[in-house]
Subunit: 344 residues, 2 copies
């Protein structure tokens, strides 16, 4: 993994003009809400901080960028994909808001999570409102492509929810022995929870630009691979990430006793019992640091990094094979590289 | 209000064959989920009790019945509306599951509410899953009507969410003076929270049966009026309903200090200060009984009952004016009468 800073900036750069298009479209989608719902929705999407001040940090805008690039890659205008870009960003934010409630996570993007800032009930409602706005956004696309667009989003949404259910169920499963989570189960969960919406984003952009079915399907597959790569990098950052960059506590996933890929890999190694002892014991920074060390020595970190590279390779090959517009493909590839090299 | 039992049975009766169609379609929609999500979703929709036993009670099935009747009234087959019937019932159940979390309600349909039975996090997720399944269901209708169907559902969903936000905001507003909730604000909230989905149900059925725009619009308006009538009856039952019939505690809405129409009417009467004293004091059965008496004497109950009758009259007039199939209109009218006469 080389030249991390440069590739991370490339992601931001590729989102420049497109990012501005998306920000305007998001703001106008949100205009359908009145306070206090509007203020909370703007907080959740990173447009405003609690109290309504402009926010310092915002999300990466990965999914809407993928949607716009999907349209451009299919030979259309980025603008055609805007209602889809808004829809996938809103659906993504909806999942963050509700997942933070389910997981009890108190921080998100260097700020309190929405439920922590405004309460659980309001956060449930804001998530619902974001999802309603997402649908509303797709309800405005030309009738000729609306049906296909909705079918794409509905399918992805269901996969995301089923993936989140699997992720929650993993928490109650044993660390070892019969009933322990397998690496295959973990990847299936990540394909739903993370891959489905990234695949949907790219395909939705193409569909809104009038792309034929096989092009949209190809972009969906490539986006899904990117999602798996994204999740693998997330798993690495969740253990070894810099809290200043990620906005999450140090050893965040270990603290939450998450059974992520690096942990599962290490659980099949020789230091299994020592790792289980740390992961099921009292949470202190020394123990967490020891666990991170055990996992790294057992090859858990390398395995996740290889997974990210492998999925990136598959996505790249798919994008090169499809009959797509070259400049957009180059931007997609830069975006993909940046995702795998990112630090936050 | 006469012959309550007979009209209540008429509602059930009109749902007989249609109810069976809906139950089968709901069961097959839910087959996309695996345990434990599937079990919780079946609990929420009243198909199963906690633990998976067949449930004793279920909902009234009002919205899916309206969808099927909408199709029939537009001259189509009930079957054409089934994906829409499933979608509106799932959206309705989604709102119940999430509203019970937001409102802290522990009972629903003579059973624990979902969050009470399974926890808040899982209940948030089940609500999301139900909404995803609703979209999935609409994703399967013929492409020619899918776009319009989705636009209808998206619009209704947004109105429902905005209505629920208003309802929650009412809780923090003063009982009297500047900033007090007005009856107009209350009706606007009810039109969103309850009216929108009933209107959508009838219109969606018609759209799926290929009805022209003006017929669908007329059914939407009639359904919305029925929703307002339904809410007015709900408000009466929330204070004076029989707990054995409603499945809710006695004086349930007063216990929750809800600013419903009967209360708002009484707050503009001469016993205002006495009522405010009771509604803001300690909750005991004697105080609640006193409040119910004050509200009734101030005309709050009569006003809500008149509101229900008036909206029923408007809906009836709309249904008689539209170019609809007679037998389905008669069933719609019987359903509407039953709604206003219901005890649960």
């Amino acid at each position: 993994m080389t030249n991390v800073q440069v590739t991370a900036e490339a992601v931001e750069g590729s989102a420049g003009r497109r990012g501005e298009l998306v920000r305007q479209a998001m703001a106008s989608a949100m205009a359908a809400l009145e306070p206090p719902l509007a203020e909370m929705a703007r907080f959740a999407t990173g447009q405003r901080d609690a109290g309504g001040e402009p926010a310092a940090g915002r999300g990466k805008g990965l999914r809407p960028t993928l949607a716009l690039l999907g349209a451009e890659a299919a030979g259309g205008m980025a603008e055609a994909a805007l209602p889809g870009a808004v829809a996938v960003e809103l659906v993504h934010t909806f999942t963050l808001v509700h997942d933070d409630i389910m997981d009890g996570d108190e921080r998100r993007r260097h700020r309190p999570s929405l439920w922590k800032a405004y309460g659980t009930g309001p956060a449930v409602l804001v998530g619902d409102a974001l999802l309603a706005l997402a649908l509303e956004s797709l309800g405005r696309v030309p009738a000729a492509v609306r049906g296909e667009a909705v079918a794409l989003l509905a399918g992805a949404l269901l996969e995301v929810v089923v993936g989140q259910a699997a992720d929650m169920a993993f928490e109650d499963r044993p660390w070892t022995g019969a009933g322990a989570v397998t690496l295959d189960e973990y990847h299936a969960m990540a394909a739903g929870k993370t891959g489905a919406l990234l695949g949907c984003s790219a395909a939705l952009g193409a569909v809104l630009a009038g792309a034929p079915r096989d092009v949209a399907d190809g972009l969906a597959r490539a986006g899904r691979e990117l999602g798996l790569a994204f999740q693998a990098v997330d798993d690495v950052l969740g253990i070894w990430g810099d809290p200043d960059a990620t906005g999450k506590p140090v050893f965040s996933d270990l603290r939450r006793r998450k059974k992520t890929a690096p942990v599962l890999v290490a659980l099949s190694g020789p230091d299994r019992d020592a790792l289980v002892a740390v992961m099921t014991g009292a949470v202190d920074e020394r123990g967490l640091r020891a666990a991170a060390g055990l996992i790294e020595r057992a090859g858990g970190r390398t395995a996740a990094e290889e997974m990210a590279r492998r999925c990136l390779g598959t996505a790249t090959a798919l994008l090169r094979e499809l009959p797509l517009a070259r400049p957009a493909v180059e931007d997609l590839l830069a975006l993909a590289e940046g995702l795998v090299a990112r630090r936050r």
